[in-house]
Structures are given as C-alpha cells and as structure tokens.
C-alpha cells in the first residue's frame, strides 16, 4: 500500500535527525577549533597536528559532497524480485562521452512464485547506471536530486527492465546522462534516438520538469549475449565501439553514445565467440 504521508513523515524525521546531528557536529567543531588554537600556541608540533586534522577534515567533507543519499527503493512487481544469489554486477565499464563516472550494469534472474529462479537465460532483469567503485548509481544532475552533483547509489529494487530470450537480448533507451529517469529529472524529447524505446518516466507528481538539452542525453544499448561471447561490437555509419568481455561479465554488454549523433541509422551488433 502506497502511503505518501508515511513516506513524508519518514523523510522529515530523517531530515530532523540529520539537522540535529549537524548542529551537534557544529558544536564539536567549535570545541575542536578552540582546542586546535590551544595546540597552536604550544609550538611547531601543535601546528603540524593542526595541518593533519584540517587535511583529514577536508577529505571527509569531500567524500560527503561526492556521495549523496541512495535512490529510494521501490516495491517491485512479484515477478521482478531477484532470486537468491542471482545478482551479477558485471565488471565491464564503458566511458561516458563527456567523461566522469563510467557506465556499467548488473542483472539478476527473477524469482519464481515457488521461490526458485527462472530457467537459465529465459528472463533476465537488467539495471544500468553510472559506476563509482563497486556501486551502481545515478548522478544528481539534469534536474535529478536538486542538481546536487552527487552520486546516488541505486538499489537493486529500482529495476531498469527485464528482457526475455534464450541467450541473447538487446535493449536501447534514450536517457539523461545522469542515468536517472525518476522524479524531477529532465524529460527526454520524443524526437531523439534511432528507433529506440525510450525509458518510460517513473510516475511522479512532478510535471514541471524541463526538456533535456541534447548534450545531456545518452543512448544506452545494453543486454546479455550468449554464454561464451568474447566481444560485442556496435557498428554504425559514424561509429564503431567494442566491448571486450571477461567470463565474470556473464555476457553482459553496454554501449553509451551521445544522443546528438546522426540518428538516421540503427546500430548493428556483432557478437564474437
């Protein structure tokens, strides 16, 4: 049962808790500053310690600024829940056309009603996004997360889509470069992309989002190839890209193109085994 009032209450209490901790932290910071002033007066050793503490503090602040809160998980339809132990985070990483965090994907086998997993390769659920370290996530830009510029971890419950097929699948989407299509992210204009299936916007109250500028759009081609595939090549009139796969990728591949590419074509995928 969706209850936005409870959700709001949770958000408010969490925010109140953060504010309270921040206020206490500010108090501690003031006390620490006073203590550091005392150390400074005690000579060179004190000064060196001050420098170390300031550096440590700056590092902590930098990390806070880089990583924001995770994306909220959503209740998945029963068929989409991952079977136990089936989640695979492919080690494959591909660069974004504009740089920054690379793209990657993970997939899992959906759980069956009896609690087991689906037949091998029959249905796989895939989730793509930007990658920081070993975490799949999205970026706070293009309108998402108040443009905070931070990386937000993506829970597996926030599914991208499931594909069917025996051993081979392919999906194409046009999405913001942030990889986030939820609340407040910019809207993908309908004219962009080659015969691509646009990622449907998640249902939100927010109808006041702006249209994504072309530079903020990406075409993502991804899927799972047959077992034993060594490389996947994407070919078009103006572009050739190759994913070299390792066994740990389990055949998963992903290509990310700028959406301002000439879209009078549809890429061909060639699989080498």
């Amino acid at each position: 049962m969706t209850d936005p009032l409870r959700e709001l209450r949770r958000e408010l209490v969490s925010a109140a808790s953060r504010e309270s901790q921040r206020a206490r932290g500010a108090g501690r910071h003031a006390r620490r500053a006073a203590s550091l002033r005392h150390l400074q007066r005690r000579g060179r050793f004190g000064l060196a310690l001050v420098v170390l503490l300031v550096l440590a503090s700056a590092t902590a602040v930098g990390a806070d600024q880089l990583f924001g809160p995770p994306v909220r998980a959503r209740v998945l339809p029963a068929a989409g829940r991952p079977a136990s132990g089936s989640i695979v985070f492919a080690p494959l990483r591909v660069a974004d056309p504009a740089g920054g965090f690379p793209w990657g994907l993970r997939f899992y086998l959906p759980r069956q009603a009896d609690g087991g997993s689906s037949a091998t390769n029959a249905v796989r659920c895939l989730q793509y996004g930007r990658v920081a370290g070993n975490t799949l996530g999205v970026l706070g830009e293009d309108g998402a997360f108040g443009n905070d510029g931070q990386f937000h971890a993506l829970p597996v419950e926030r599914l991208a889509g499931c594909v069917t097929g025996s051993g081979l699948s392919r999906a194409e989407v046009v999405v913001p470069a942030s990889a986030f299509t939820g609340a407040r992210s910019c809207t993908v204009p309908p004219s962009v992309g080659f015969e691509a299936i646009r990622h449907p916007r998640e249902l939100t109250r927010d109808t006041r989002t702006s249209t994504c500028p072309p530079a903020a759009l990406r075409i993502v081609v991804y899927g799972v190839s047959a077992r034993g595939t060594l490389s996947v090549r994407l070919q078009g009139p103006h572009v050739t890209m190759t994913d070299r796969l390792v066994p740990a990728d389990h055949g998963a591949y992903i290509f990310v193109l700028p959406a301002n590419t000439d879209m009078g074509w549809r890429p061909q995928l060639k699989f080498a085994r």
Binding site: M1, T2, D3, P4, L5, E7, L8, R9, E11, L12, V13, S14, A15, A16, S17, R18, E19, S20, A23, G68, P69, R72, R74, G146, D148, G182, A183, R184, E202, L203, T204, R205, D206, R208
Partner: protein, 182 residues
C-alpha cells in the same frame, strides 16, 4: 504512542529529538493537507505544498519564537506564504526539501487515494466544529445528498429552517477555512 506534550514543547524538543517533529507532523498533516486541497486543483499539488510546508517548518525551527503565537499559527503562516508564493510563481517550490536533502515522493494512484482521504478528514474537522443542528443539516444535505423536504421530515422542522441551518453551517465552515485557526 502519542505523548501529551504541547505543540510548543514538541517544536522545542525537535531540535534534539527527531521523533518529536514526527509527532508534530502527525498532529497537523491532515489539516495542512486539507488547507491546500481546498485551494489547488489536485491532490498531488496539495501534497507537494504540504511537504514543503513541513520541510520549511523543520528548516526554520530555530526561528520559531513561542512568544509570537501558537505553533499552529506559525505553521499555517508558512503554509499561506508558500501558497501565495506558488500562485505568484505558477509552480511549487521545493527549496526547503532540497536544503534538507529530502527525497521526492512518488505519487501513484494508491497514494492519490490516501491524499484525498486524509485531506477530506482534515476538512471534516471543520464540520465537527459546527453546532450540532447545523452539522446534522450540512451532513444530510451535502454528504448524504438528501432533499430539503426529506431532511425536514427527519429533523422534524420546516424546509426553510433546514435551508437556513445548511446555509449558516456552510458559511461558518468557509470562514473557518479562510481563517484556518485549528
């Protein structure tokens, strides 16, 4: 379980105790939601404004001064300010929620139903404040949708008396809604 602390005590405690603000929210969300629901065309916008109101209240806790009035007056002053601001801009701001790093709420059909129900409950509180004869008449006419003649028969009075009670009751609710002094 709800405590017996006053609103002012809850706000004062909220600076160190996050659950106190949750309790303050529980007490007033229905009224704030009803306040906006009567002023905007749909429940989503009402929820949007209500969320921003509580976020703004949380963000300005340190500026709340009990000597300047009861907490509900302060809360509804924030609500009114946000409503006027939304009218002027043509959109609902989310500045307070962003400042607190709150996640956007996802509103689907089920959520909409909850919003409408709670907003209606908030509106029914105005009905409860009416004198019994006016409340009965308003409920019979506007909620049960009965004819004046039928209501007159049930209440054992003339049709004109029923009309008068309904009219006075609705007028009193309208005035209370505008003043919004819960």
């Amino acid at each position: 379980m709800a405590s017996k602390r006053s609103d002012a005590e809850l706000l004062a405690a909220s600076r160190d105790d996050a659950t106190a603000f949750g309790e303050f929210y529980d007490r007033h969300i229905a009224k704030v939601l009803a306040f906006f629901r009567r002023r905007v065309p749909d429940g989503e916008l009402a929820m949007d404004l209500a969320a921003e109101t509580f976020a703004a209240a949380l963000g300005s806790l340190s500026r709340y001064e009990p000597r300047e009035g009861p907490p509900t007056a302060w809360l509804f002053a924030i609500a009114r300010h946000l409503w006027f601001d939304a009218l002027r801009r043509g959109q609902v701001e989310d500045r307070a929620r962003r400042a607190l790093q709150m996640q956007p709420l996802l509103i689907d059909d089920e959520a909409m139903a909850v919003i409408e129900r709670v907003a209606a409950e908030g509106a029914l509180e105005l009905l409860d404040a009416l004198p019994a004869d006016q409340r009965d008449a308003v409920i019979a006419r506007h909620l049960d949708e009965r004819d004046y003649s039928e209501i007159a028969a049930v209440l054992v009075c003339s049709e004109s008396v029923v009309r008068q009670r309904v009219s006075r009751g609705v007028k009193a609710m309208r005035v209370a809604a505008v003043q919004e002094q819960p």
